[in-house]
Symmetry: C2
Subunit: 319 residues, 2 copies
């Protein structure tokens, strides 16, 4: 492995991942960063094709994200939702008025046989995003959860049932046959690759679906650059979402170390929070403790720098 | 024909028609009024099924209409349109944020194989509309215009090209095979029928499509109640829209009388504006001049009363 300056591939889900991606995008040349985004929690709702993680990353990089909510767009209005409820429509999944444009236009273009990746690239161009955002696949992969209330589609579990059901198993339906996006594979095979960063997203819901694609898994197994993950668990808790609850239900200890163990041989280095630094010793890969709670823009940039520096150290040690 | 109190069927397009329908709805018992609405300017846009005339009538009766614009909803916001334009989407047809709920929910239910009439009835119920609104047909009829710029879909001509092309011919594609809605036919055959009111909508774009359905035409030819039309032309001008321009292009004089002549034997009585009262003498059916410019709610109710009184007079004279 070499530590030369070069390309970075980030693998990301929604909120937490998008924060680190923003940090990376601010300390790197745009052409040096490729983000592979989970699409397994994409779904059809009200006839619209919705890609929550893609949109969160896209809105975040465009500066359109809502920093409080963590999803959707800032300065959003909700007149569509009110009117929909008055007509008896399904209102459990909140779609902002401006956000709707993304879903309606994406749906229209998908129906016209454009690929999700092309549409995403065009949206990014129009929103002034220089970083390359690549959906993990243009094929359909869907996260489903075997729970104590039966098999649930991800958004049903996540939004409608507010993660209340007990998760017994996570399934990535369609993953076996799905083709990893060629640009994602190419980015991971790039001879200039400096590091692969696994963002602090839910390992089971956001990262595993990407890794479940054989095209991604195979090329990562033969990697020439270090893979460094950032823990989504801080002091035994997830910053947001059902990560901690789900890990516990699946028998995974809710610790930063358990996440690293979950990734196993895939990791060459690990970044966790100061709060979890005492667990270091349990891992056989180089670990760096830092501040992983990204409250400010400076936090995002600082974490991005720490991650890349750690990757470079790991590369030197191994290479 | 009998002049007894009873049922009234109104045939309506959008703006002007909806105003008179509102007037009728305010002076009648809800169960006595059925509105047959043109659906030939319905279209698909951005993957959504849009029914402009149905929505205008529905919003008007629900008190949700925008009195200035004449289409869409009052207190509307436009964040969807701004966001759509930023993504490079087609923005020539303005869809308000709350209005979108109607189109998205209707589209979803149509795709689930519900009929347009059922969906409309359910929307009306939820919006508190007691008057029965019936689409002229659940089958697809589409107004197309042969113009000096080629054959155009109606909304392309009407909105995108702002009625600029010269109209050579109006075609109601699908009308021959389309089945008039059974409830519309039943309402016209009702033994309690007091009058059929042809609203002051564009005769070529809003009323003719309804009359182009054989199921409607046949039952009107055998009618037992008077048909009374209200002129959409006031002093040689249309209150709104392309009526006057299109009539002129098609060689129809832009006069109230010409509209009555256009309807021909279908009419038993006619209501026109004081401004056009001097033309009375040219028509062989009973004509009543009144104020047809419906600026206030009182105007709408007064016109509705005049129309029904005229129908009752006509019925007595003929019956």
């Amino acid at each position: 492995m070499s530590a030369q300056r070069g390309r970075v591939v980030a693998i990301s889900g929604g909120i937490g991942g998008a924060k680190l991606v923003l940090g990376l995008s601010r300390i790197m040349r745009p052409e040096d960063l490729v983000v592979i985004v989970n699409t397994a929690d994409d779904f059809e709702h009200l006839g619209l094709a919705i890609s929550p993680d893609l949109d969160t990353v896209m809105y975040t990089l465009a500066g359109l994200d809502d920093p409080q909510r963590g999803w959707g767009r800032r300065d959003e209005s909700w007149n569509f939702m009110s009117a929909l409820a008055a007509l008896g429509g399904e209102s459990w999944f909140a779609l902002g008025d401006a956000d709707l444009a993304t879903h309606i236009e994406r749906t229209r273009r998908l129906r016209a046989a454009e690929t999700l990746s092309n549409i995403t690239a065009d949206f990014c161009r129009r929103l002034g995003i220089a970083t390359r955002i690549v959906p993990m696949s243009d094929d359909r992969v869907r996260t489903r959860l075997e729970t104590d209330r039966g098999l649930l589609e991800f958004q049903d579990y996540f939004v409608r049932q507010r993660c209340a059901p007990v998760v017994l198993k996570v399934v990535y339906a369609g993953a076996t046959g799905a083709r990893a996006h060629p640009d994602a594979v190419a980015a991971l095979q790039d001879s200039r690759l400096r590091a692969v960063v696994i963002c602090p997203s839910n390992p089971l819901l956001s990262i595993e679906p990407v890794l479940s694609l054989s095209g991604i898994r195979d090329v990562l197994a033969r990697r020439a650059a270090p893979v460094v993950a950032v823990s989504p668990i801080i002091g035994g808790r997830a910053v947001k979402g059902p990560t901690a609850k789900m890990m516990a239900e699946l028998g995974i200890p809710v610790t930063a170390v358990a996440v690293a163990r979950h990734y196993g041989h895939l990791l060459d280095g690990y970044v966790l929070d100061h709060a979890d630094a005492s667990d270091n010793i349990e891992l056989k890969i180089p670990v760096v403790p830092t501040n992983t709670l990204m409250l400010s823009l400076e936090d995002r940039e600082a974490l991005a720098r720490t991650v890349l520096a750690h990757a470079d150290r790991v590369a030197k040690a191994v290479g």
